[in-house]
Symmetry: C2
Subunit: 230 residues, 2 copies
């Protein structure tokens, strides 16, 4: 697996499915270069292929390219990120020394995004109809899972399809602190909630493998607690 | 974009990231052929690359290959699917004539899966720590989004990485009707909930583009309701 150093190289040599998944880290420093409309449509069409219970497809996509609207979202994002960061840092456990540098880099990138959110050339809002997945039979209500199971896979498809085209993004949710303001800004009715905002742009940084715990530490075999080396 | 007709062809010629996303439909008729352990590890490692708020990675993976345990899950799935299907059909609106054939095919495939769930050579249970994403500051509690936003993208990564290896699956949640029984079967503690079960196997059918509404009907530009042709 090789890192894709730039969107141009990436366009000429799109990654395989697995390499693409493995190298889609959050990218928070984005160029203001516009994204061609046909690329946006291909990203959206990939989102549309997400799975949903009973194929209900509860999502709607809203693509923001208008400058004033992006600025409006950017102001909300900046305000809400500031509240989030302060509250998060107040309760965050101290980082282990070996993770401190990575933590500081992520914090700096997150602050960069908060300051420049509205300058992303396109922002996709994913809205979900406020539906209940609950059914009832003669024994009572049936929990057949959360509606979010029918929407966040589509969000991940959008993120991965963007990466196919050399477009970076990050899954953001802190705007939820001012959820009504986001809906107002985009004229989204109260029948729908906004479950993610994706700021899209050609990345100033590079795609690559994100830092995660080793997979064997979170994988159990046949029964909980039964772990093994990879 | 071409359909990948078989897992063998697919192995020799893995799809690009975008083609892979576009052709990952739910596959519910699965072979009992075992999946090599190195393939399972690659699928799990791709799940591990999913995004999460503050990189908390709230998921754990439990891979079931033991036959008795798979049979146990299969019995739960079969029972809960039967309750789900009956309740769902009781409230489902009539299908439009042009969708009727597709609906009947999906129903038949779902019943097949319910009868053969435990025969899938591997089943991945995705468990999520019961965490709150809520923070508080001097103005009150902050909603920064649902924890599911930090877990279902990883589930979609698992599904797509399986497809890279020619392995089919479907995102299932109806077992939630007997959630405690699933946890008991796998010895998963009450601190975690099971957010998806993925039955994995080489498909008897073919990968391909799933039936969805045209993307332009669910895409708004700059403001809600502002749609345009692709």
């Amino acid at each position: 697996m090789t890192e894709q150093p730039s969107s141009v190289a990436n366009q000429n040599n799109p990654p395989t499915l697995l390499d693409g998944i493995m190298t889609t880290r959050a990218l928070r420093r984005l160029s203001t270069t516009p994204i061609p409309e046909d690329v946006l449509w291909e990203i959206l069409a990939a989102g549309q292929q997400g799975p949903s219970g009973g194929n209900i497809q509860p999502w709607q996509f809203l693509v923001v390219r208008d400058e004033a609207t992006r600025r409006g979202l950017g102001e909300i994002y900046s305000r809400t990120y500031a509240r989030y960061e302060k509250a998060m840092l107040a309760v965050a456990p101290p980082q282990r020394p070996e993770n401190e540098a990575s933590w500081q880099r992520t914090l700096a990138a997150s602050r960069h995004l908060a300051q420049h959110f509205g300058e992303s050339p396109a922002i996709i809002a994913i809205a979900m109809a406020d539906i209940s997945m609950e059914l009832t039979d003669e024994y009572g209500p049936l929990d057949v899972g959360t509606a979010f199971a029918s929407a966040y896979p589509a969000v991940q498809n959008l993120i991965l399809a963007a990466r196919h085209h050399g477009v970076g993004t990050a899954l953001t949710t802190v705007y939820r602190i001012e959820h009504d303001a986001v809906r107002d800004c985009l004229s989204i009715p109260k029948t729908h909630q906004v479950i993610a905002l994706l700021p899209l742009g050609y990345p100033l940084g590079k795609f690559g493998v994100a830092k995660r715990r080793p997979v064997e530490t979170v994988t159990h075999w046949d029964s909980w607690g039964n772990k093994r080396a990879r």
